[in-house]
Amino acid sequence: MLDNTSDHPIARIEKLRVEFQTKGGTVVGVEDVSFDIGSGETVCVVGESGSGKSVSSLSLMRLIEYGGGTIAGGRLLFDRKDGGVVDLATEDQRTMRDIRGNEIGMIFQEPMTALNPVFTVGRQLTEGLRVHRGMTKAEARAEALSLLKQVRIPEPERRLDQYPHELSGGMRQRVVIAMALACKPRLLIADEPTTALDVTIQAEILALIDRLKRETGTAVMFITHDMAVVAQMADRVVVMFRGNKVEEGTVEEIFENPQHPYTKALLAAVPKLGEMTGTDLPRPMKLVGQEDNATAPIPGTEEVLLTVEGLTTRFPVKGGFFRSTVANVHAVEDVSFTVKKGQTLSLVGESGCGKSTAGRSILRLVEPLAGRIDLDGTDVMALSPSGLRDARREMQMIFQDPFASLNPQLQLSDQVAEPLVNYGVGSKSERQDRVAMLFDRVELPRSFMQRYPHELSGGQRQRIAIARALALNPKLIVADEAVSALDVSVQAQVVNLMMELQAELGLGYVFISHDMAVVERVSHQVGVMYLGRIVELGPRRAVFEDPQHPYTKALMKAVPIADPRRRKSEKDLNFKPIPSPIHPVGHVPGKSVYAEVTPGHFVLTSESGY
């Protein structure tokens, strides 16, 4: 597998320096980076957000100029197909156009936006072929079809005439990959190709890239900040930090014997699936630099806080002449669970399986169709609008995107104080005191109170969102993908913070996530959702160590493990596409019937759709 590497590097980056001219002066995107990539080799570039990973890769394509950057120093040596090594940093754009897409292919971070929404997949795929290979329309189309087959898209013929939005995220990403591979490039740059995707799709894509590399001997530069992915993919790893390379080595070296303190810290912050095996209770992570933090397990109480029974939420699909409801999206279907005081229930599952809808239904932010929600003795479903408003004092929500869930136009202190104002809690000065206290609580300096959201980093924003949720002293917090958008290290801190608060204040959490490693870390109970139903529900340990439902099993298998010695092989993967949750009006789905495998561990026995 690693037979023909390194001895003959395809690309060599030497002392690269990239600057951006902005209104605030010159910003250095990459300060000093050197590494090389050999053919048939995967070099993973890791590092925090903003450390210069994308800038390095864009410089290789000389695309950085279109973003306002300049290559201020260094050389980018590239071994062209027809022999001869050129310095890409000094080539003119005409030559670059020849190289781009032809000899270097690139896969971009966001599959959702990387494709032009108004052209068909076929058209976008063939463009490069026609430019670089001088193919006719028909030839290019035939070639595109074979490319789509290569990346294993189901029904490739049909896809050619579809528009990007008609494909799922995973399929789109595969189209982007096909596009990058179209002209059989010698170097493939993949810039976080899976960050936005579900575990299952991610696993497929990773397997695909790996296979292509093996089959065609392409050199791959793989950029990510997900250490688990690195462990699965890399031959060699380059660690970047604030525009510099701080460490480089084979994947085993990096994981097993990190040298640089930053690498160490980074690895420590990565939650690894299986770390909690054998324990019952969640416990905060141990972080480098915070050795003093309490990592005692959190027992919680056995008192029931929230009971949800038979929760069903559907969204009408309007259509026909009079905009009547012709079908329903069965987003949540007969879901029941309980959350105990001071404990965490996690909901996991693939995108679109109804996790968020379930969470929002509990707060009645979307109106459930049926079911019973009992919060500490209050029947939430029976409440009038004003009663509901009062009840929301007891339950709060934290949202996935810390950038979207704060109003960009309001000062932070006002945002945190807003729930207090809404419920008329305290006098102005009392409120101020409480806001200050909350800032302390989430470990933000009080000096931030007068700032605006855009001045904060993601993790800090999420702390603000947590502070806001805490303002009213709720009993229950629904955290909908509250840490998914954060960098690993920041994620670890926020997760720790949430757990600390739980231990201290006895909060109950409904924790929604698709990151199994985090879920393993924080949960007392886990519910696995599929197509609107909970297919498996039970204590975390039981569900993770002894999955019963076939879907749970498949999901567990797909999760990459941050350990280069436990790589998954493509054969293990076996996913069916998720069926549509849309059913015509009048469709009566069956009730969810569960079997209790062990005490408290339930598995769906009725039809789940999987």
Binding site: R392, R393, N407, P408, N422, R451
Partner: protein, 336 residues
């Protein structure tokens, strides 16, 4: 509890490099001192040359029409038939035979009214109409747009009302309003005040529709943003949601509408004057001066050029200011 999490770094490694490295695991907070959004916007605006020109000219013209009449105290309506048809003083530069005089720096019209005084008084009227109509139209447009975007059930009816107003012909509307309301308004506000209110209202109610459409579109988008959901989950009432969360976020299209609205209002008023259905005849506005002078454009080009250029420059500077404001208010652009 420590004051700041950043202080924790000191506890970490002893090597300076290590300290820094582990610090990176913390959230990197902003390094610049906190700045208010206001000064941020102002900074951005200052860099926009067009906007600064616009602001400067607008300030100048506003001051001129507000303060000018106190400095240059000639009555704009005063007829001085002996000194009619005077040319501006600068024409003496190339035409020594021209009828000029320092008593009429910009010349006089066919009845001997002083052009400079008329420009000042006319500017006052035009600017007042422009601002008032723009504000009113903005208010109506924003209100309708927000309500239509926010309350689904009102969306259809309100958008149909928008269509209706788009189709309404302005002239009969104005004539009808004059019939119905001139007398009561005249009793309450005097002949000029009454007409002012009428014209402003009519211009406003025939020009709010684009604002409403744009605002509605933006509200529809913002309504789906997570922070609105977040605000609902912390118990904000709909009124509060609109005021605190939605309105501030549609400010930028509103500002742009405002800039265009001022221009439209000034031009509409002058078009009404041109068609002869505006203010009383002895009440100068730029539009009326321009309309009256068009027939004598060749002999007295200054009489069209002065108000024409004043209107154009005002509208132009408002447009530029609006452009700059849009850039400054858009955080995506401001960041750059």
């Amino acid at each position: 509890m420590t004051e700041s999490p950043q202080d924790d770094l000191i506890l970490a490694d002893s090597s300076p490099r290590g300290v820094e490295a582990i610090g990176a695991l913390k959230d990197t907070g902003p390094t610049a001192p906190p700045r208010s959004r206001g000064s941020d916007i102002w900074d951005q605006l200052r860099k926009h040359k067009g906007a600064m020109f616009g602001l400067g000219f607008l300030t100048f013209i506003t001051l001129a029409v507000l303060v000018g009449p106190y400095i240059y105290t000639v009555d704009p309506q005063k007829l001085d038939i002996r000194n009619k048809d005077m040319r501006p003083i600068y024409t003496a530069l190339w035409d020594s035979g021209a009828k000029v005089g320092w008593n009429k720096p910009l010349g006089s019209d066919q009845l001997g009214r002083d052009n400079l005084a008329q420009m000042l008084a006319g500017g006052r009227a035009s600017m007042a109409v422009g601002w008032a109509a723009m504000l009113l139209s903005l208010f109506i447009g924003t209100a309708i747009g927000v309500v239509a975007g926010f309350f689904r059930r009102l969306d259809g009816p309100l958008m149909r009302v928008t269509d209706l107003f788009l189709a309404l012909p302005i002239l009969p509307l104005l004539l009808l309003a004059v019939t119905l309301f001139r007398q009561p308004l005249r009793a309450g506000f005097g002949p000029e005040g009454g007409m002012f209110i009428l014209i402003v209202t009519i211009v406003a109610i025939t020009s709010w529709m684009p604002t409403a459409r744009i605002v509605r579109g933006d509200v529809l988008a913002i309504k789906e943003r997570e922070f609105v959901l977040a605000a609902r989950s912390i118990g904000s009432t709909p009124g509060k949601l609109i005021r605190r969360h939605i309105l501030p976020n549609v400010l930028s299209p509103i500002m742009v509408s405002a800039a265009l609205g001022l221009a439209t209002a000034i031009i509409t008023e002058s078009a009404l004057s041109f068609l002869g259905v505006g203010f009383p005849s002895d009440f100068p506005t730029w539009g009326k001066m321009l309309a009256d002078a068009v027939v004598r454009m060749e002999q007295f080009p200054e009489r069209v050029m002065l108000p024409g250029i004043a209107i154009s420059l005002t509208v132009l500077s408002v447009n530029y200011l609006g452009d700059g404001l849009r850039d400054a208010l858009d955080p995506r652009i401001r960041g750059r």
